[in-house]
């Protein structure tokens, strides 16, 4: 094993070009577990800790440019207005110590379907800026996840920045685990209302081979809100709409049975979370005061 310590982003790209098998390590919260438990022996570790730009973020007019290594703690504490869904998701990540080290870049790099940030990124709408010595490109989040623990990165590319649309409406995020803290998702769901475009977006985690959107549920809800004039009137969402949205989200899931939960439970739970989040976000949109800000929830 070799340990590569680039001092700058350019050096990192050069190292990744020279050693395409090098495994990037930033927070270390995934790769170090694999090393400690002898599950993986990369030929090269490529340390990204010395690259300051990966830990910076910038709030633009429409988009937050989030460095790949910005720790979840920083997202929770500093970006809850701009990225409420991602801030909520960040708050569910593992433990305070892990949140102090891990960042969204690691989630994207590992592309585990259980990564906590994926549903929030899918729901908010994001683009992943990746770069190599050949140049940089923006990968839409919908095209980023290509298979179980596989992503759209080329072997010489590194994740640099995640461009996430600033929230133009309420966002929510929940995950289910069989413990009240420090738990890997059995399944997760994220929902973002986008009043500017009068659309909604969703994200499902840990309930399909990759993180996915519940597109049929989104389409149904977009249509139902439009037809019912909900966006203008801000009237209460009907239970039947909420239920059907939940059922369609549940139907979008394509989960497996594993040691953390059954496929049947995952489908069920996705539906419940979707239904609840629709009520939470919509109540917040209506501004009735029921869209309460949650102490401890970001």
């Amino acid at each position: 094993m070799d340990f590569l310590r680039p001092a700058s982003w350019e050096e990192a790209l050069a190292a990744k070009a020279e050693y395409p098998s090098a495994v990037p390590i930033a927070g270390g919260t995934d790769i170090m577990v694999e090393i400690n438990f002898d599950h993986r022996r990369p030929e090269y570790l490529l340390d990204l800790n010395r690259i300051g730009l990966l830990r910076e973020w910038e709030v633009g007019e429409d988009v937050v440019r989030l460095g790949a290594s910005v720790p979840y703690t920083q997202i929770m504490e500093n970006l809850r207005t701009e990225l409420p869904g991602l801030a909520l998701a960040s708050h569910t990540v593992a433990s305070p110590q892990i949140r102090n080290r891990g960042g969204v870049g690691g989630n994207l790099g590992c592309a585990s379907p259980a990564g906590d940030s994926h549903p929030a990124l899918l729901a908010a709408g994001a683009e992943v800026e990746v770069e190599s010595v050949r140049g940089s490109r923006l990968i839409p989040i919908d095209e980023f996840y290509t298979g179980v623990k596989r992503n759209a990165l080329a072997a010489d590319e590194l994740i640099k920045t995640i461009h996430v649309k600033k929230a133009d409406g309420p966002q929510q995020y929940s995950k289910v685990g069989s413990r009240n803290a420090m738990v890997i998702a059995v399944c997760a769901f994220g929902l973002a209302l986008h009043p500017e475009t009068r659309t909604v977006r969703t994200g499902i985690g840990s309930a399909a081979p990759t993180p996915i959107r519940a597109k049929a549920a989104e389409e149904f809800l977009n249509a139902a809100l439009e037809e019912g004039g909900f966006w203008e009137s801000g009237k209460v969402i009907t239970p039947s709409i909420a239920k059907q949205f939940g059922d369609l989200a549940s139907g979008a899931a394509n989960p497996i049975d594993d040691v953390r939960g059954t496929a049947k439970y995952r489908r069920h739970a996705v539906g419940i979370m979707a239904r609840r989040q629709l009520v939470w976000t919509w109540e917040q949109y209506r501004g009735t005061g029921h869209g309460r800000s949650l102490e401890g929830a970001a």
């Binding site: 803290a181 059954t262 800000s293 949650l294 102490e295």
Partner: protein
């Protein structure tokens, strides 16, 4: 102490001295090792370090049941940095097995593996990574064998025998060689009594496999000595039991295996058996270098036995006015591939299967199976936990069927002093079962909708799902449940249970100082605190030195069975009394003629002085001991004898002491997502006499939380198709975090047991029994579901299994 020229390893425990003006029994004295533990200086077994030490690595079987056709270690041996590779063929002595009661466990697999993760080969190398890479290069050719995974496959006519040709002391009476031990208990006449029953309830219950999940992994350091022996620094629950198993396999006399207790990072039964002890010694002797072995968390799940999973079948009857008529039960414990403590667990499960209730007509059977599942043995509660989970569910079912309050129903049938156990043993000290229930029930309930804290909105941290933000109150229903349990204290069934204490009293700098030396394993329970308290009370000193636990002093027995304060505490008291007599003897010899009280009065040692029971000071201890040798005595202490249970009827005074705790659980369940938040777990327990209330409450809260864990999240999942463990990590074997643990108010009763030292009652295990069924009862109350399996998974609450 080490008989060699090597330097003493870093982390070798030293004397710990605590000076305290008060600090006798009954005080909440602080731990003498507390400062070391908060500064990071306290050395645990994994902290041991020696110059030029090697690292040991265990290669474990990747399959559960197989013949080993061949092992090729040549590539591993050829690796630079590798000092030794050992397999079964390298074992030095005729004895190649070990075991607590039955020596059926191979030190290294002998041509056959019987469970997933069984040790097959050992490597010693200069770095843990070298050792791991070498172990990975060992080639093993497994020929898989059919699996035995449950009662049906164990007892089938063509079942493969896990231990063919067994000749242990239970082999003669068991109905099948795949049954480790069977203990029936028959008393009264169940068939006749059943006729009196107005209601009968039956139940089939499943208890999952729980792991002790102590935080300090199995680890230790073996240092070879010039005399051909070995010094072993290790974390264990019972040094002398280890020694008896280690020495024969090394082919060494016991005096050449010198064991010292290193810091122990929790135990809970999981260190009752041998783990890395023999392996480290073998490698140290083979390489003539110190060898350290530290399991990681993954290996730890294979490195110790677990709590027996169990199937329990119960039938209870009651009259319409709420009196129990009879009970029938069968308890099937899965002991896994090796016996470990299974026979004793069977004895406990059987003899405590009725719970703390009056039942004169019973028909009980408990068995433990040999299977290819992971070996199971001791864990806090030891057979009584599984039974309590089942009989308490039965009590709730009966109460519901009778339309009675579940607490009143229990109180109506509660045992008390004088009750006869199903074994025929009379409960001869306080058994305040009804009172414990009354106390937990009379506590005010925590406020409804407690997640709506002062401000607006919901605090998700107080809701099911916690930080995962799954509910803001939707679907949340409260439930309240009760349970009570009975546990035995100390080793039972005729075992010669004793402990040894050495106490030395001498004058240092003009002050009398006591030193207490025992082999008691301090695993966190606070035994060392209590020993110092006892010495202060009995010898009137302020300064007490705790000597490290080692095998240079007699056995203390195990730190298990809620027995150490009773047994080694009793031994320290007993030796202190002899030391006091010796002081008084010297005093009488020197000063007796100056005051008649020397001859006539009851004399005590208090505040550094010899005083009469009337408080008159006769002399300073320091003056009396002036010019004398230190008084240094080592004595054994025994509890009153027990007898074995009859193998057909189960009759016999098999237990020393009984101990009781009750719980009330308040839970909030997200009934749509099946997530649970335990809001409060109120406890009441009789401890006879609290030698240290701070420690007592800590034990109760800790034991309660382990019971909570197995109620709602903890289970080692074994794939029934492969008998392989599917979740050997803290990512997938979940134990409660601080956000899963409720407030645990504790109500302590002190009703003395006249047979026990200071009247104390062993107390470490009882809270682990009743907290599980209390939580389950509360979840049943919230959901209306039957819930016959622990742990409760979200699937079970949402119909999505």
């Amino acid at each position: 102490m080490a008989q060699n020229t090597r330097t003493v390893p870093a982390g070798t425990p030293t004397n710990v001295t605590q000076k305290h003006n008060k600090g006798g029994i009954g005080e909440s004295t602080l731990r003498p090792d507390g400062t070391l533990k908060v500064t990071g200086e306290f050395a645990y077994s994994s902290d041991m370090w020696h110059e030029d030490m090697l690292w040991g690595q265990t290669l474990r079987s990747t399959v559960a049941h197989a013949e080993i056709a061949s092992i090729d270690i040549s590539e591993a041996l050829a690796m630079p940095g590798v000092y030794s590779v050992l397999t079964y063929d390298d074992l030095p002595a005729a004895m190649k097995n070990y075991g607590l009661e039955i020596q059926d466990t191979p030190v290294l697999a002998n041509g056959r593996v019987r469970h997933h993760g069984e040790p097959v080969a050992l490597v010693a190398a200069d770095h843990p990574e070298t050792a791991r890479r070498a172990a990975a290069k060992i080639k093993i050719d497994y020929r898989e064998l059919p699996l035995v995974t449950d009662e049906a496959s164990a007892l089938a006519p063509d079942a493969p025998l896990i231990h063919p040709g067994r000749d242990d002391h239970h082999s003669g009476h068991v109905p099948h060689p795949n049954i480790v031990h069977r203990q029936p208990i028959i008393r009264g006449n169940v068939e006749e009594a059943r006729k009196r029953a107005d209601v009968i309830v039956e139940g089939e219950y499943t208890f999952g496999m729980q792991d002790q999940a102590f935080l300090g992994p199995e680890s230790g350091l073996a240092v070879p000595s010039e005399d051909g022996g070995v010094d072993l620094y290790v974390a264990t629950q019972w040094l002398h039991s280890d020694l008896k198993q280690i020495a024969p396999v090394l082919g060494l006399p016991e005096e050449k295996v010198r064991m010292t207790l290193s810091g122990v990072g929790g135990a809970f039964g999981g260190r009752e058996d041998i783990s890395m002890q023999i392996h480290a010694c073998l490698l140290a002797l083979a390489t003539n270098k110190p060898v350290k072995i530290v399991y990681n968390r993954f290996e730890s799940f294979f490195g110790h036995v677990h709590r027996h999973p169990a199937k329990l079948y119960y039938e209870h009857g009651a009259t319409k006015d709420g009196k129990l008529t009879h009970m029938k039960c069968k308890i099937v414990l899965d002991g896994g591939a090796y016996a470990s403590a299974s026979p004793a667990v069977v004895g406990n499960a059987s003899s405590l299967s009725v719970g703390p209730y009056v039942l004169e007509d019973v028909d009980i059977e408990a068995i433990a199976l040999y299977t290819n599942n992971p070996p199971c043995g001791a864990m806090r509660g030891f057979g009584a936990v599984q039974a309590c989970f089942a009989y308490e569910a039965q009590m709730d079912k009966l109460a519901a069927k009778l339309g009675m309050d579940p607490v009143e129903f229990r109180q109506l049938n509660a045992m008390e002093m004088g009750t006869i156990m199903p074994t025929g043993q009379v409960v001869d000290s306080p058994a305040p079962v009804a009172e414990l229930l009354r106390r937990v029930k009379s506590r005010p309930l925590p406020p409804e909708r407690q997640w709506e804290s002062a401000g607006e909105g919901a605090d998700v941290r107080a809701l099911p799902g916690g930080l995962s933000n799954t509910t803001h109150g939707e679907g949340v229903v409260r439930g309240v449940g009760y349970a009570v349990g009975i546990k035995n204290v100390g080793f039972s069934e005729g075992f010669d249970d004793y402990s040894t204490a050495r106490v030395r009293l001498e004058v240092i700098n003009g002050e009398p100082v006591a030193m207490v030396h025992t082999a008691m394993a301090e695993v966190g329970q606070g035994g060392v605190t209590v020993h110092a308290q006892i010495a202060r009370t009995e010898l009137g000193v302020t300064q007490v030195t705790i000597h490290p636990a080692d095998t240079q002093v007699g056995s203390a027995g195990s730190t298990s069975a809620s027995r150490q304060t009773y047994m080694t505490g009793g031994a320290v008291k007993n030796t202190c009394e002899a030391v006091r007599e010796a002081v008084l003897e010297i005093g009488r010899r020197k000063n007796g003629s100056y005051h008649p009280a020397w001859a006539t009065a009851e004399l005590l040692l208090e505040g550094g002085k010899i005083v009469t029971d009337g408080g008159e000071v006769l002399a300073d201890i320091a003056d009396v001991l002036e010019g004398e040798d230190a008084i240094d005595l080592e004595l054994e202490f025994r509890h009153r004898p027990t007898v074995a249970f009859d193998l057909k009827t189960g009759q016999g005074d098999g237990h020393v002491q009984y101990t009781f705790a009750a719980h009330r659980a308040v839970v909030e369940v997200d009934t749509e997502l099946g997530l649970v938040k335990v809001v409060e777990l109120a406890t009441a327990q009789d401890v006879g006499k609290a030698l240290n209330m701070l420690s007592v409450v800590g034990q109760i809260q800790g034991g309660t939380t382990q019971g909570l864990g197995v109620a709602i999240m903890e289970e080692i999942i074994v794939d029934p198709k492969t008998a392989k463990v599917r979740n050997p990590s803290f990512t997938d074997y979940l134990i409660p975090t601080i956000l899963d643990t409720p407030t645990i108010p504790v109500d302590v009763l002190e009703l003395a047991d006249p047979n026990a030292p200071y009247g104390l009652r062993g107390m470490g295990e009882a809270p682990t029994l009743s907290s599980t069924p209390a939580v389950l009862a509360a979840i049943r109350a919230a959901t209306g579901l039957e819930l016959n399996k622990t742990p409760i998974r979200p699937e079970a609450l949402t119909g999505t299994l």
